[in-house]
Amino acid sequence: METIRLTSDTLHDFAEEVYQATGQNLVRCYQCGNCMAGCPYTEFFDYPVSQIMRMIQTGQREKALSSKAIWLCATCETCTTRCPCEIDVAEVMDGLRNIAYREKRFTEKDIRTFYEAFLTSLKNHGRIFELEIIARYNLRSGHLLTDADLGPKVMKQLHFLPKRIKGRNDVARIVKKFMEKK
């Protein structure tokens, strides 16, 4: 088992950073494990969500921000709903994702590629264009055949032209400000 040296220096910095980003005070977490027990994604996570909360308490910034778990969380809000300490756990996971994004720590590359395909489509038209997102994702991720098996079935649901809004330049300006920071 890994031994962690808890010093007063490392202990509070990360918890304070998370508090600033999310308004959530992790000192309140007493590790009951309720968040992990209800999380539909525990079986897919490298660290269960309760351990991510513990990493914040113990200042393990590197480990938490490079976990797969923060990317695989779908913000389903089960953890937030059930936390007896009223910590908004899903907001904490989202806050960690925001920090990881800023620091270009992309542990789950396909998820990042999908998010950016989505935001690029949003930037281009002001609304998203589903066909463009999947095409861009398939090209950028290298998984060229993702959902190709749905092809004939999905045809009757897809629209083949984007809905461009008048204010798309205003929307593009907002998105660019965040996407170009990379």
Binding site: D94, R97, D110, M179
Partner: protein, 334 residues
């Protein structure tokens, strides 16, 4: 009290793969005497990718729309999509409580958001502002073959502080609206389990496993259809049902309907008017029997009719369908 007019934010999905949700919502609300006004030049709410990347980005994309609605002087914004709803509620909540956040967001907007828009899901509008009694009074048609599992998805009633609607663990609004239409509602344990949400494309294996659990539970509780209120749930359960079957070795053929489509059928609209032809798993066999309300006493007992009509439905279908139905009826008998 019925509020007659709402700002109606359909959202991008409802202009694309979920157009049947939009169509059926409009038909049903018109029938209930509710006017929907579309905010002019609305844009995407940002959804999951925006809040994953940056909270200020998510706030600005949502607040652009809230600012448009604010100028409409319509008291309430309604959206059928839980993801859009969540984006609006979170942006409004943060902007109201944190002035630094609001300033940062407003710097990105041409028209600032002042913080005066209340957002409600369209399910909430129908359940709370219109009410099951009014819904029941509009019912002209009974659907004796439907056995519905009401699947709310994860964020329609959660987190409770923000959603401020229904029960976060055991929501009942959809169950009651369907019951008001005379539809049989099953006791479904996975009402708020997550279907895998936006990971259908980048993490398909995960979504297929989660969706398989939801469909299995629906079948185990005796349901022959799943009724949803979220375009992403509908997509994962319906469009990906074939992928689930291939990946998990299952043979589901369970139609996935929007709650507004079930209400629309009960109000006497045709499947085509409600966009049911757009769905992948056909609901034809389940809705073939539609009985005018008030005449049900004169027709043969409902149970016999169910069996007969279901058998007629399967005769035209594949062996897979027959197997699914016999499994469902075996589960029911047990």
């Amino acid at each position: 009290m019925i509020e007659k007019e709402y700002a109606y934010y359909a959202g991008c999905s409802l202009e694309g793969t979920a157009s049947s949700y939009d169509r059926s919502i409009r038909v049903v609300l018109k029938s209930l005497g509710v006017t929907l006004r579309e905010p002019e030049d609305w844009s995407c709410c940002g959804s999951t990718p925006a809040h994953a990347m940056n909270h200020v980005l998510a706030g600005a994309l949502a607040a652009r729309n809230l600012a448009i609605v604010e100028r409409m002087e319509t008291a309430t914004l309604t959206t059928p999509c839980p993801s859009c709803l969540s984006a609006f509620k979170k942006a409004h909540d943060k902007a109201s409580k944190d002035t630094a956040f609001r300033d940062e967001v407003n710097q990105l907007l041409d028209v600032p958001y002042e913080g005066g828009v209340k957002a409600k899901s369209t399910l909430q509008v129908i359940y709370e502002d219109v009410g099951p009694d009014t819904v029941a009074s509009r019912v002209t048609t009974l659907l004796p073959d439907l056995k519905a599992a009401c699947y709310y998805g994860c964020i329609l009633s959660r987190p409770p502080r923000l959603a401020a609607f229904d029960d976060p663990e055991n929501p009942v609004s959809m169950d009651r609206l369907l019951a008001a239409c005379g539809v049989e509602v099953c006791d479904f344990a996975f009402k708020t389990e997550c279907c895998g949400a936006a990971f259908g494309v980048p993490k398909k294996d995960m979504v297929l496993r989660l969706t398989h659990k939801v469909l299995t539970m629906a079948q185990d509780c005796g349901a022959n259809c799943v009724v949803v209120a979220c375009p992403l749930c509908q997509q994962n359960l319906d469009l990906r049902q074939g992928q689930v079957n291939r990946a998990m070795g299952s043979s589901f053929s369970i139609p996935i309907l929007y709650f507004s489509q079930v209400l629309g059928l009960a109000f006497g609209y045709s499947p085509g008017e409600l966009g049911l032809d757009k769905h992948i798993v056909s609901a034809d066999a389940l809705i073939r029997s539609r009985i005018p309300k008030g005449t049900e006493e004169t027709v043969p007992p409902a149970k016999e009719k169910v069996g007969k009509s279901a058998a007629q439905g399967t005769a035209r279908r594949s062996g897979e369908r027959t197997e699914t139905e016999s499994t469902a009826s075996a589960a029911k008998e047990a």
